[in-house]
Amino acid sequence: MKRKKAGTRAADQAGTNGRGKKARGTAFDGHEGVSPIPPVPRFGHGSRVPGWDDAADLRKDPAVVPDAATTPVPADLRAEIEAHMAKYPDHRSASIPALAAAQRHHGWCSPEAIEQVACVMHLTPGYLFSVATFYDMLETHPVGRHSIFVCTNISCSLCGADDLLAAVLEAADGDPDLNIRSFECLGACDIAPMASVDGVYVGPVALDEVGTLVAQIKAGEPPLPAKQLGHRAVAEPLAAIPKGPTTYGGQMPEEAPGPPAPVEQQSPIPLQDEGQGEEGAT
């Protein structure tokens, strides 16, 4: 039973992106000079005991602001972070753009990346790590180069997003270069089911297009060019809109698609007549 549970939980993590909950126990493993830290103690049913995903090494002193003399920062990254800092009255406001810049540079918010941001911004790494773990788009674990965020929120899932996510995972076949995860509403429910591929919105993605999509991503080509959001008009053209008074039904053109059941209303609902509008509604 326990083994099965662990399996489903791992699948859950691949799907629902728990903030920083992926790949438990692997944080910092790829970083040199950090000794392996024992796994976090857990209750039998799986919940965390101390309340943290990754164990803190309590033998160490808290990290201070890194010394500029011993922390080399790439010049372009430093310039970008300083440009962000200059935009705000309080330079701390730049912590999210700075971490995002470091993530673009390093691939993820690695301890090294966080040290560099901390050095430029004169903040402690702990502060920046607390920020990085809060936000979904800041990765605190190594991830693939290409991100595929499949929206699985309500509108998209009504249109088959869960199948889409499964199909993308299957087509990717565990390619470590692809960072595939379900994402919360990406604000493109009009093209549901959709995905954000390296920041480019594509949709609606049909299941038989998933193979093409994944191949295009691997080849570094623009994903499904015809289905990118930029090409979409606001909504359907005027022809689709029924003419006439506000009561739906009666005076629509014959060929217009109608509701399944006829609307039996005696009078149009007044829109601007004071007081009556609400009465007419109920």
Binding site: P39, A100, I191, I241, P259, Q272
Partner: protein, 448 residues
């Protein structure tokens, strides 16, 4: 392109979406060709900040982000006097089902900039920020480009259009957190912290960003400001209903044939939006339930389709207009699935600061999972409903309420279906496929 209809059958002109798909509208030249920045020139040339506030009050324009608070009142709450004041445009549109601001920013970024400059002038703010969600990379790039154009033309910066008004504007990209759409969470996030909400009062108008007075408004609200100035507040107030003036961008999604953004006059019957504009559910299906204002709004059923789509009528019907996102769910979908999907979203997005929300969202998910896999009894539904009641009003922000209200309304309105679902799941799976451990034992690395 969408239109609105008035009572006498004539189509009202769309306000925000007039020619929205026009080629080149996102450039300064394209926007100017359409009369862009004329309202700003008029404001800076001939109006005092108080006069702008008076126009906004006269328009009765209500916030389009969710709470529906009058922008005129909000601006008038800003303290007078010489101090650093801030204007923030909340472009963290992360309410599930909402995508109207994305459309506006992508296609007409200058409309937002113009509205922000006018609002900043009215509020006496000299620094403005657009907090745009990190996922909207393309839209943020468009805004950045528009900002550079505006700065080059002297529309943003020092001594705008040769007046005494200065404004610096920054496009700030978030990094993916629903809670940062909540105004105080947004403030913390913009200050470079974790996006935890703050205790109110003090309200942002008194103590907001960097402890200074701050005006926070939604993209759509700010983009409407130039139109209010252009039309005149009183004229704008003639559109829509008496208490819900103007037009609203409605994002229709879910089980409809033509999902998309539509601009409607407030007070339009909901049926016309869902069936007339969006085409209704697919052939042969009927509307089972719909969210009138994003996933945080209590659900309405197919019987409620004739409610006029405005702030007060929806509030009277026990729901809310919210962000203006209609999500339609047809009769082929199990209500339990919808509830579970929602609850998981809010559980993930709860920032964890307040216990009722942090624990309540987690337990709601657990209980819905029990319902789904046949371990629940009808008593669980009562417990679940009581959990929702204990979340509402007990947290710093309304994220918990945003889960509790729709889930509570779903359980109340579809209780029969929940009970049938429990019964069916139990019959199908008498032992449950995931029995909770009877006695939680502390073990080392159980999940590893």
């Amino acid at each position: 392109m969408s239109t609105t209809t008035t009572t006498d059958g004539e189509r009202a002109q769309p306000i925000l979406f007039r020619g929205i798909d026009e080629e080149g509208l996102h450039t300064l030249e394209g926007y100017r060709r359409r009369g862009g920045y004329e309202a700003l020139a008029h404001v800076l040339g001939a109006m005092s900040p108080q006069e702008v506030v008076a126009e906004l009050l006269a328009s009765n324009l209500r916030g389009r982000g969710g709470a529906g608070f009058q922008i005129g009142k909000k601006v008038s709450f800003m303290p007078a006097g010489q101090m650093d004041k801030y204007l923030i445009c909340n472009a963290d549109e992360s309410e599930p089902g909402t995508f109207k601001d994305r459309e506006l920013m992508q296609k007409s970024p200058h409309m937002l900039l113009e509205g922000m400059i006018i609002a900043a002038y009215a509020a006496g703010a000299n620094r403005a920020f657009i907090y745009i969600r990190g996922e909207y990379q393309a839209q943020a790039d468009i805004l950045d480009a528009a900002l550079v154009e505006a700065q080059a033309e002297g529309l943003v910066g020092e001594r705008i259009l040769d007046s005494d008004f200065d404004l610096t504007l920054v496009v700030h990209r978030g990094a993916g957190a629903y809670i940062c759409g909540e105004e105080t969470g947004l403030l913390d996030s913009l200050e470079g912290k974790r996006g935890n909400p703050r205790l109110k009062p003090p309200f942002p108008a008194n103590q907001g960003l960097y402890q200074g007075p701050t005006l926070i408004n939604n993209v759509e609200t700010l983009a409407t400001v130039p139109h209010v100035i252009r039309m005149g507040g009183a004229e704008y107030a003639k559109v829509g209903t008496e208490t819900s003036t103007g037009t609203k961008l409605v994002s229709v999604s879910g089980n409809v044939q033509r999902p998309g953004n539509y601009e409607v006059e407030l007070g339009t019957p909901s049926r016309e939006i869902i069936y007339g504009l969006a085409g209704g559910p697919p052939e042969g299906r009927t509307v089972k339930l719909w969210f009138p204002g994003g996933s945080s709004a209590p659900v309405l059923t197919g019987d409620d389709l004739d409610i006029p789509y405005d702030f007060d009528a929806l509030a009277k019907a026990g729901s809310m207009l919210g962000s203006g996102a209609i999500i339609v769910v047809d009769d082929s979908v199990a209500v339990v699935d919808v509830a579970l999907k929602l609850a998981k979203f809010y559980k993930h997005e709860s920032c964890g600061k307040c216990t009722p929300c942090r624990e309540g969202t987690r337990w709601t998910v657990s209980m819905l999972e029990r319902v789904d896999n046949g371990l629940a009894t009808p008593m669980d539904l009562d417990i679940m409903a009581s959990v929702q009641e204990q979340i509402i009003g007990n947290c710093l922000c309304v994220l918990g309420d945003a889960m509790a209200m729709p889930i509570g309304s779903m359980v109340a309105k579809f209780r029969d279906e929940f009970e049938a679902h429990i019964e069916a799941a139990r019959t199908r799976n008498p032992f449950g496929d995931e029995q909770p451990s009877p006695d939680p034992v502390l073990v080392q690395g159980a999940a590893a």
